[in-house]
């Protein structure tokens, strides 16, 4: 009997401490969801009667920018319970929670003279508070799209923490005509396809334009002398100048260094193609690779210290990294297939490339040392990736096959999601994404 009582007491003592936990409950969550965030973007409040249409247009551009990233989903205005009629009034969070809008963007616009002024605020609906401070932009009425893009950039940054990329331009080749006789000319446009402006005519073949780091100049290859040569064009004045015109050679695939003072490019002499660099101001050139194989498509790292390029010295096209002034190269591509057109991300963490394997073309990304290779697209012919200013989106060329084949620009998120075409007036190829505009 005593033993039994003792036993029960012992069990009791043993159990009680285990039961008497008073610290907070701790759990760990490792799995979440990935889904577009619902955001409500009502028309901007018009401060004058003339501003009503502008308020609607700007809201539409902001909505298109945000939903175009694939990270946001717009809550349709037909679902709104309360309206935003006063920019300074308090927000009825319950009304927005009810329609499951997790973020709310409100704004006010005033058009006066040739100027437009936009104010906006971003709200985190479920936390019931404003996200960051309100901001204001002023600009010429003609540039209202740029202001809308700047607002969208700010909203995007506050919610995702990423830098924006909407207020940027893309230079590309606009194509027309049959496949055997393509007419090509240089064009520049807003990243979403608006405001297209042509920089050359179609008399000579032009290829692969590339923006400088601050977006003031474009390097490209042209056949206007009969032979491919590299040119630099000033975007503001649309004036161009040939850079490399040595007789008996062909030059192509030029790219700016991040400081904009040096250009790296490929030179074909006889049967050999190698990589050279040139100081634009002085014209002095230096040879960076010295191999009987084809070395081409060089691209600088964002810190200007290294160059990634493609070479077929191993028998097939592969990617190599070398110091910016030439030197020993290290191969970084090892998969099954051929790798080309490498481009370093502006964040410096990834290299995008074109891969050919089993008769298909892919756009892919890999780390700077070649690890974690991921393919993002697959089709008959994808090539020539270019990075958005925040290093999250890649734009590239996709061609279809056959007589009626044409080129279209496409963009894709680096996760491989949100593959979508970019609308251009005619066919488009060889895009180069410029920087965020100041």
């Amino acid at each position: 009997m005593m033993v039994r009582v003792l036993f029960v007491i012992l069990v009791w003592l043993g159990v009680a401490p285990a039961v008497a936990q008073t610290g907070p409950l701790r759990i760990e969550i490792t799995e979440g969801v990935i889904e577009p965030l619902p955001v409500a973007i009502p028309d901007l409040v018009a401060e004058t009667a003339r501003s009503v249409q502008m308020g609607q247009q700007i809201a539409r551009v902001i909505a298109a920018d945000l939903t175009g990233t694939g990270l946001f989903r717009e809550v349709p205005s037909s679902a709104f319970i309360s309206q935003i009629n006063d920019f300074s009034a308090a927000v009825q969070y319950a009304d927005w929670k009810a329609i499951n809008a997790q973020a709310l963007v409100t704004g006010a616009v005033r058009v006066q003279g040739g100027q437009v002024r936009v104010q906006f605020r971003v709200y985190d609906v479920f936390s019931g508070a404003e996200l960051g401070d309100g901001l204001q932009f002023v600009g010429a009425s003609d540039g209202w799209r740029r202001i809308a893009h700047k607002v969208a950039d700010a909203v995007y940054s506050r919610i995702t923490g990423e830098g924006g990329y909407f207020d940027s331009r893309v230079v590309f080749v606009s194509e027309s005509g049959p496949k055997s006789e393509r007419r090509k000319r240089l064009a520049v446009m807003d990243y979403d396809g608006a405001n297209v402006q042509y920089l050359t005519d179609s008399d000579a073949i032009v290829l692969a334009p590339r923006f400088s780091a601050n977006g003031d100049r474009v390097l490209y290859t042209s056949y206007e002398t009969g032979f491919p040569r590299i040119y630099v064009l000033d975007v503001g004045s649309v004036q161009r100048k040939v850079l490399e015109s040595q007789q008996g050679t062909m030059s192509f695939a030029p790219r700016f260094a991040p400081d904009g003072r040096t250009v790296v490019y490929s030179l074909s002499q006889g049967s050999n193609t190698d990589i050279y660099s040139m100081n634009i101001a002085s014209g002095a050139t230096s040879r960076l690779t010295r191999a009987p194989s084809i070395e081409t498509a060089p691209s600088f790292s964002p810190d200007g210290a290294r160059i990634v390029y493609e070479s077929d010295r191993s028998g097939t096209q592969q990617l190599y990294v070398m110091p910016a002034n030439g030197g020993e190269a290290r191969r970084i591509s090892f998969g099954d297939g051929r790798y080309g057109t490498p481009v370093w991300s502006p964040r410096g963490d990834l290299i995008a490339f074109t891969k050919q394997s089993k008769g298909r073309f892919h756009i892919g990304v890999m780390r700077n040392d070649g690890s974690e290779e991921r393919l993002l697209t697959a089709s008959f012919l994808d090539e020539g990736p270019s990075w958005s200013p925040n290093g999250r989106v890649i734009m590239f060329t996709r061609e279809t096959q056959g007589v009626a084949g044409r080129s279209t620009l496409y963009s894709v998120d680096i996760t491989g999601r949100n593959l979508r075409p970019v609308r251009t007036p005619e066919g488009g190829s060889d895009p180069s994404w410029g920087p965020l505009q100041p």
Partner: protein, 362 residues
């Protein structure tokens, strides 16, 4: 009458009778199945498979490419030459003297004037009874990625983590029902599928489908009760808890929360934890959020704070914290989190660690 006549008559009659009716007494041999295998062309083989009913699954099942059967043209015109199958490998029986010169290899011999050359049947000629499993099943691409795959919802349903059917106000109802729209969890895949990966099911070639259709995949993602997935662990824990005498209600602090209940809370919050809009910086950051809970299972927003963070920068931590906070608040739902009230002291203060490491790889 003459005895002999009678005997003879009986004998004759029985003989005639046996001849006429004797067959009726014989029992038929037990019926058994004979599978006759005949040579069919590859097209007919493919047609055979596609006419069967397809199983109702979410993933695509790729039908097998019909193996090209290299048939000796002469052999097909002689169906009586078919060899009954009990073994896939059949050694060719030489019909004429000339054939033994050829080695009985699986490759059908080139006809060289031998009009009855048998064909060595390749193993693939017969219906593959073993499913060919692909390297890795890849789900169909979907806009939403979640731990549990969800089939596409009905078109009129608004997206919501909780599935609700449309409830309209009934005038005669005694208890007025709350008006609700049809909601269903959004379609989801378990991982991001890029264009470079083609969706494929686990099977490359399938068995003849069974006559009974398999059950459709479950739809509900959030349940207040412990989900079945954690059932085994929960059962074990429950058993242990009871063994420790945890059912005694007069213990003031209450028994510890079972793993099932903790899991329920974990799942409930994770459904709203949307990492899709996190920057790459924030995806490197693990944050711990602490807050108090009211008795009704609703988090007290004013007590929410970031307790710690690791990895990533300060900006990334801020982003990650805000997303975590949003997740906790959003999934509170109408009735708060479903936690047992008798164990309230166990969960009146909660710390949740959000670790996006596994979400990065998706």
């Amino acid at each position: 009458m003459n005895t002999g006549l009678i005997i003879s008559g009986i004998g004759h009659a029985s003989l005639i009778g046996w001849v006429l009716f004797g067959g009726a007494f014989q029992s038929e041999p037990l019926p058994f199945e004979v599978t006759e295998v005949s040579m069919i062309s590859s097209d007919a083989f493919e047609a055979l498979l596609t006419t069967g009913p397809q199983p109702d699954t979410v993933t695509e099942v790729v039908l097998p490419a019909a193996p090209t059967v290299d048939l000796d043209p002469v052999a097909t015109s002689q169906p009586d030459q078919t060899i009954a199958t009990d073994a896939p490998q059949v050694s060719p029986e030489p019909v004429s003297e000339i054939v033994p010169a050829k080695s009985p290899s699986p490759v059908p011999p080139v006809p060289e004037g031998i009009d009855t050359a048998p064909v060595a049947l390749q193993p693939q000629d017969f219906a593959t009874l073993v499913p060919d499993v692909g390297a890795r099943p890849i789900p169909r691409p979907s806009e939403r990625v979640a731990p549990l795959a969800v089939a596409p919802p009905p078109p009129e349903a608004l997206p919501d983590p909780v599935e609700r059917d449309q409830v309209t106000q009934q005038d005669e109802a005694e208890t007025p029902a709350q008006e609700q729209e049809t909601t269903a969890p959004q379609e989801a895949a378990t991982e991001i599928v890029t264009e470079a990966e083609e969706p494929s099911g686990a099977l490359r070639s399938s068995l003849r489908p069974p006559s009974r259709r398999p059950a459709p995949p479950t739809r509900t993602v959030e349940t207040p009760d412990p989900p079945a997935a954690a059932a085994t662990q929960a059962v074990v824990n429950d058993a242990l808890r009871e063994a420790l005498g945890g059912t005694a209600p007069d213990v003031p602090l209450g028994p510890p929360l079972s793993a099932g209940e903790k899991d329920a809370l974990r799942v409930a919050v994770s459904v709203c934890w949307n990492v899709g809009s996190l920057s790459s910086e924030a995806l490197l950051t693990t944050v711990t959020v602490g807050f108090d809970m009211s008795r009704k299972g609703r988090p007290v927003v004013s007590t929410m704070r970031m307790i710690s963070s690791s990895g990533g920068s300060a900006a990334g931590a801020k982003q990650a914290y805000e997303t975590a906070r949003r997740a906790i608040i959003r999934c509170t739902g109408q009735n708060g989190y479903q936690l047992p009230i008798e164990k309230y002291d166990q969960w009146k203060q909660i710390e949740i660690t959000f670790n996006p490491e596994r979400m990065r790889i998706k």
